[in-house]
């Protein structure tokens, strides 16, 4: 590296703040989204990933919310209307006057209008603030709104992102225009086009409201916990014994072996052998295992050896409060030879 090399802003900053090295990749706002996973750093200084929810899942949640909010609203209106008719007319009859009913009806319909306004503009804001980023529909769909920095959203963010939904559902097409009807009643059909286009233009699937409020919608459903794979074939442990006891796999190799073992059930034997041989053949060669051994079988044995029979760490102690203290296993960089 020449001495007059120009440093990028991120590198300079990292040097000033004393974090990271020149050659370490910097986690910045631009590259913290890989596929649909978003990286979040907690106050405990742990990085973990969220899976970002796409538009169609969110649409289902939104529809559920619409049905719930306006279903509930119209049910309330129905009950109010019923009470109004019964009591208004009964008492009106008793007092022998119609004015009482008229007054009640006016107040009732006034409340209905105000209620519609409140439900339309503030339902999502209230629910997301009260229930930690989830409306009923989002809860049913297993998604949640969080801040882009990984924190829970606050009331201001919830209100903003719900106000700007009005822009996301644009353009609104009058239904009679589509159907060619000459009706006076205006049925409008929101097309959600602006929201969809904006979502597809950024990596976190943020609609306009999300961009304005700085929020992102993530998946949060229960994920099943995978157990280690156990192989039925009894050749696997026998072949595993042939791997030298002093062999220590690098992190990269360990990951490759685990990925392979998890994915191989989806492949036909010929294909999985094809994929396995790139890693398996050089290793078998080194361990002195017969070259005509099935590479696929060898990879399974390596998996067995790495995860089931090999000692991973020296002294992990689980303390009484459930935390773990350990000394790290030392891994020698014994990568895959190429």
């Amino acid at each position: 590296m020449s001495s007059d090399r120009k440093f990028s802003a991120a590198e300079t900053e990292s040097m000033i703040r004393g974090i990271g090295g020149l050659d370490r990749p910097q986690v910045s706002d631009q590259n913290d989204v890989i596929d649909t996973m978003m990286l979040v750093k907690t106050p405990e200084n742990i990085s973990f990933q969220y899976e970002i929810s796409g538009p169609f899942y969110r649409f289902v949640a939104y529809l559920t919310d619409l049905i719930f909010a306006f279903g509930g609203y119209f049910a309330a209106v129905g009950i109010l209307y019923f009470l109004l008719v019964v009591f208004g007319l009964l008492i009106g009859n008793a007092l022998n006057t119609f004015t009482f009913f008229e007054v009640l009806a006016g107040i009732g319909f006034g409340l209905i209008m105000v209620g519609f306004f409140i439900v339309y503009w503030f339902y999502g804001a209230y629910m997301e603030t009260r229930f930690n980023g989830q409306t009923l529909g989002k809860r049913l769909c297993g998604i949640r709104v969080i801040s882009v920095d990984g924190h829970a959203i606050d009331g201001v963010q919830a209100t903003l992102r719900n106000f700007f939904r009005f822009l996301d559902v644009m353009p609104i097409v009058p239904l009679q225009m589509l159907l060619g009807l000459e009706s006076q009643v205006l049925f409008a059909l929101p097309t959600f086009l602006i929201g969809l286009v904006v979502m597809s233009l950024n990596r976190k699937f943020q609609r306009v409201g999300d961009l304005v409020a700085g929020t992102v919608v993530i998946f949060e459903e229960k994920k099943y916990r995978p157990d280690l794979i156990e192989f039925e074939d009894e050749r696997v442990p026998r072949l595993a014994e042939l791997i030298p006891a002093d062999f220590v796999a690098s992190q990269g190799l360990t990951q490759v072996v685990a990925e392979f073992a998890e994915q191989r059930v989806y492949l036909v034997p010929q294909r999985s052998a094809d994929i396995a041989k790139h890693v398996a053949v050089p290793l078998m060669d080194r361990f002195g295992i017969a070259a005509d051994t099935d590479p696929d079988l060898f990879m399974c044995s390596l998996y067995h050896r790495l995860f089931v029979t090999q000692e991973a760490g020296e002294s992990q102690v689980v303390t009484e409060n459930g935390a773990v203290e350990l000394s790290l296993p030392v891994s020698v960089g014994e990568g895959i030879e190429r």
């Binding site: 973990f48 503009w121 980023g133 099943y224 935390a323």
Partner: protein, 332 residues
């Protein structure tokens, strides 16, 4: 220790954490302290497991499971802050009026709105400068309808229909205001909505103040006087708050566009909420005082002057900055 044994050893803790996350669901604050503390301990342990997953050489699927587990528990532990009501007094009576008083966007919108309004009013009042202006804006049918509805205006409505109309005005006007606010994010559509409203309203006022409008003219003036100040100010505030956000991502003032947008949106929300409150107040006046035929005109005038004074006190007296620029209100 072998990886298989490690996973077997840790699984009960992971599962316990998962169960606690589900059970606590919406109400961590109301759970009993022992469980909250247990939850926090398990969360820290899971964080540690995740952080050390690479050194443990856990298989990728288990790591992915841990990501989900930690993410879920994280969302239970760090919860939404809600609206912090105790800081509202300062926000409503100190921060917001100062923000509004100093805001260039609101001043721009005020000038545009009133400018277009007055020009349109003059053009439709004075029939010689631009003959047929009001007909072009409002439409011949619309003008007839206006004259008709204000012609037979008078009489008193009951409490019931007044409340109904108040509900209608809140729903209708506040929705228009919020829509204008939201459309302003894209600036041009927002200006179209704002200008259309200003010109339309101006044209209606101009026509109605013409001497040839007869009884309708008098009734119209009688109707609009009382709630005018609140309603027109509310429209301007909503549009101004929207323009602030719209300009923030176009002229980002040294910040990156996204950050500038986030920062300004946060600032603008109190202004638009102020507009909503004004719409509600205007709707109350419009529902109960404006349509009253018996209510003397000077009474309505007093309401208008009173509400203008209130606005003045709020924007100017409360809003006048303590010191130029920045000053003690910056919290330093």
């Amino acid at each position: 220790m072998k990886v298989a044994e490690l996973i077997k050893l840790r699984s009960p803790y992971w599962e316990e954490l998962e169960d606690l996350s589900i059970q606590m669901g919406g109400r961590l604050g109301k759970a009993d302290p022992d469980r909250v503390s247990r939850f926090a301990t398990l969360y820290r342990a899971a964080c540690a497991d995740l952080a050390l997953a690479e050194s443990y050489q856990l298989p990728p699927q288990t790591v992915e499971y841990l990501h989900r587990l930690v993410g879920r528990a994280h969302n239970q532990l760090y919860r939404s802050q809600g609206y912090q009501f105790n800081s509202w007094t300062k926000r409503i009576f100190t921060d917001t009026p100062r923000l509004i008083f100093n805001d260039v966007c609101i001043q721009i919108v005020t000038i545009i709105f009133w400018g277009l309004f007055l020009i349109a009013a003059y053009l439709s009042y004075n029939t010689t400068v631009w003959p047929g202006f009001s007909e072009a804006v409002v439409g011949v049918e619309g003008l007839d309808q206006l004259r008709e509805s204000y012609g037979q205006f008078g009489g008193n409505r009951g409490v019931g229909s007044n409340t109904f109309m108040m509900g209608y005005y809140i729903h209708n006007n506040a929705t228009i205001g919020l829509q204008c606010f939201v459309m302003m994010l894209l600036v041009i559509p927002g200006f179209v909505v704002l200008s259309y409203n200003a010109i339309y309203l101006g044209a209606v006022f101009g026509v109605m103040f013409r001497p040839d409008s007869g009884a309708a003219s008098e009734n119209f003036q009688n109707f609009v006087t009382a709630h005018g100040p609140f309603e027109l100010t509310a429209i301007i505030l909503a549009a101004g708050a929207g323009l602030k956000i719209g300009l923030s991502w176009i002229m980002s003032d040294g910040l990156n566009r996204k950050d500038s947008l986030l920062k300004t949106a946060r600032e603008s929300l109190p202004i638009v909420m102020c507009a909503v409150v004004l719409f509600v107040l205007a709707a109350m006046i419009e529902g109960f005082i404006s349509p009253h035929g018996d209510f003397p005109w000077w009474g309505k005038g007093t309401v208008a002057v009173g509400s203008s004074c209130l606005l003045m006190i709020y924007f100017v007296v409360l809003g006048y900055p303590a010191a130029w620029p920045g000053g003690e209100d910056d919290g330093f």
